[in-house]
Amino acid sequence: MEVTEERLGSSPGVVQDGESQVLRLYIAGQTPRSIAAFANLKKICEEHFAGRYRIEVIDLVQNPQLAAGDQILAVPTLVRRLPEPVRKIIGDLSNAERVLVGLDVRPAR
């Protein structure tokens, strides 16, 4: 599976039961960790935000100049740009619970 820029949910502006998620995933090359992170993210989004999310994948190997803008250090880093406030989740997103906590969907335990 190749990680590319991907938009799911044809009409991100349409809000059903909650706001739409605008997500940006920073990776550094097609590493197993990048691929795993993308797969994990996609799965979580399908389960919780079906039809109202958008994922933008940025490969820093190809666009190194974009790392500074979102203060990226670690990869993979998931940045939730909308809704505000901006949230960051680093790691391969293997723990769905923590990702949802990070996205403020579940209250932190």
């Binding site: 790392a67 500074a68 990226i72 250090l73 670690a74 990869v75 406030p85 949230r87 680093i90 923590r98």
Partner: protein, 581 residues
């Protein structure tokens, strides 16, 4: 078997004044060096100076990756040091990247690495072809990221990566309890470790730098004071490493002719150090001013460092004794620097002096008075500092005059600042107290290599400057002031009397001679008169005798007496004739 010569460790100059000297050329090229120290010790400024000097002086662009301060904050901080960071960024000589890590914004889930940081740094390096990199302070990551295991592994990888990139890097680290850095960064950066320290002693702060470790290189191991001021970051190499400075046979004037005379007629040796010690108001500053004035008259540059008076005050006071310092200031030959001792720590004073000397390049330096530095540091510290300063001045061939204030109670031939052993010439201005007066006396206590006078001179401050006059040394000891004047007056009176007596006798002699001559003349006149009288009497007498003889002969002829009776018969006649006359 031949061994190839071991290549010397290449070093990259930091451009930081003094640091490159003590480190033998700078930090190791192509390797990371660790600069650590407590909060506010100057780590960031050290690192920034390294970068800015690299960009401006060595044509080595640099990347500054800040983990604490934003670009704007950094720009403001270094503007006070005279660096225009924004301009350097515009010229693509420096890239500034502010890495902000906010723990509260970050959730960690699963495995990750810091490739993002590597990419950012790599991109910044490549964008300007950087040769230098600063990471300030990378330890901030420890508070931003939870997984320490990953972080440590990644830092280790980062330092190796920096080496592979071939950039010369400075990593800063906060000092920890009992360790050089809080997170033990010294484990990863093992080539060079520089420790900065900021101590406050008796309310005066002193900054010090020490090279803790420098793999594969000799380096100074002492603690070196450093300063941060408007001219940037400067380390003071404290000890001249040897006593082998060149010496000069040239002599220069003290500015006081009589003092030159006391020092073998020619003054001080050039490049030596002179100490003038004396009590308050004994004229030490005046002697210093003479010395500086004499240097300026020769067209040389002089610098005076004043710890008690302001430049304007010194100029005014010296004018009152006929020394016009202002003219030299106006011509750029003289610089006066004043600073209260308590304004800075000792090292800061020393560093400022060093800097000023390095910039102005004077041939003559005056420090007035060094003893006031005692108020900010212990005697041992002042002595150490002075030794270093004197060595430094000697190595530059600068003739220095230090003044030292002694107190009434202390023994004169002991300086509070024990610098007497490091100076070459020592002049002592003493107070001679007698007959209810205090007068100043000056003598040469020591003058290495100069046949000097062993006499005390009385020291006067006149409107033509310092004058030295002979003291009256008599049976009753040394007389000065009005006692000397009295004695001199007495001497003059006695001398006058002697002269008068001599004149009187000479006059008497002359009179005697005149009288003698007069008498001689009179006597001669009388003699001549009498002589003439007698002579004429004698003549007549002879004539009469002749006539008598004739008469008698005539008579005998007439009487026909024989010749034999002639004499007897003639006698009565002769008597009668004599009575007739």
């Amino acid at each position: 078997m031949d061994h190839p010569p071991v290549a010397k460790l290449p070093k990259t100059p930091t451009g930081i004044e003094g640091f490159d000297e003590i480190s033998g050329g700078g930090v190791p090229t192509g390797r990371p060096s660790l600069v650590c120290g407590g909060a506010g010790c100057g780590k960031t400024l050290f690192a920034l100076s390294f970068l800015v000097h690299g960009a401006t002086e060595f044509d080595e662009p640099g990347v500054f990756m800040s983990f604490e301060e934003s670009a704007e904050e950094l720009g403001q901080n270094v503007a006070s040091l005279g660096f225009d960071l924004r301009e350097l960024i515009r010229q693509k000589k420096i890239v500034l990247d502010h890495v902000r890590v906010e723990r509260s914004e970050i959730e960690e889930t699963g495995d990750y690495d810091l490739e993002g940081l590597f990419i950012r740094l790599g991109y910044a390096i490549d964008s300007i072809g950087a040769r230098r990199v600063v990471l300030d302070t990378i330890e901030s990551l420890f508070s931003g990221l939870a997984n320490q295991g990953i972080l440590r592994a990644e830092l280790r990888r980062l330092f190796r990566w920096l080496k592979d990139k071939g950039v010369t890097a400075i990593i800063t680290g906060e000092r920890g309890e009992g360790t050089l850095t809080r997170q033990g960064l010294e484990e990863y950066v093992s080539d060079a470790v520089i420790l900065l320290d900021h101590r406050v002693d008796a309310e005066i702060s002193t900054r010090r730098l020490r090279i803790v470790k420098y793999r594969g290189s000799a380096h100074g191991t002492n603690e070196y004071p450093f300063l941060i001021d408007e001219e940037g970051f400067a380390v003071l190499p404290v000890t001249a490493l040897s006593l082998d400075h060149a010496v000069s046979p040239e002599r220069i004037s003290t500015g006081v002719p009589r003092l030159d005379a006391m020092l073998g007629g020619k003054g001080y040796y050039r490049g030596t150090t002179v100490l003038v010690s004396g009590t308050a108001g004994s004229g030490k500053t005046s002697l210093s001013a003479h010395f500086a004035d004499a240097a300026c008259r020769r067209g040389e540059r002089a610098q005076m460092f004043l710890f008690e008076e302001s430049p304007a005050q010194v100029v005014r006071n010296m004018k009152s004794i006929g020394i016009d310092l202002q003219q030299w200031v106006d011509r750029g030959l003289l610089e006066l620097h004043a600073a209260r001792p308590s304004t800075f720590g000792l090292e800061m004073h020393l560093s400022r002096i060093h800097r000023a000397i390095g910039r102005f390049r004077p041939s003559v330096v005056v420090l007035d008075p060094v003893s006031s530095l005692l108020s900010v540091a212990s005697s041992a510290d002042v002595q150490g500092t002075m030794t270093r300063l004197v060595d430094h001045l000697k190595s530059r061939g600068i003739t220095a005059l230090l003044t030292n204030l002694t107190y009434g109670k202390t023994e004169m031939e002991r300086t509070d600042v024990a610098v007497s052993s490091i100076v070459d010439t020592w002049l002592l201005v003493v107070t001679l107290e007698s007959s209810g007066e205090r007068n100043r006396g000056l003598y040469v206590l020591k003058a290495r290599g100069i046949g000097h006078s062993n006499q005390i001179r009385e020291f006067l401050l006149t409107e033509h400057g310092v004058e030295l006059i002979d003291v009256y040394a008599g049976a009753g000891g040394v007389l000065t002031g009005s006692a000397r004047l009295t004695q001199e007056a007495q001497d003059r009176a006695a001398a006058l009397l002697e002269e008068q007596e001599l004149e009187r006798r000479q006059r008497a002699l002359a009179q005697l001679k005149t009288a003698f001559d007069a008498e001689m003349t009179a006597l001669r006149a009388r003699f001549e008169t009498q002589q003439a009288d007698l002579m004429s009497g004698i003549g007549e007498h002879r004539a009469r005798i002749a006539r008598l003889k004739d008469d008698r002969r005539d008579m005998a002829r007439s009487r026909r007496a024989d010749a034999a009776n002639g004499g007897d018969g003639a006698t009565p006649k002769h008597d009668a004739r004599a009575k007739e006359r």
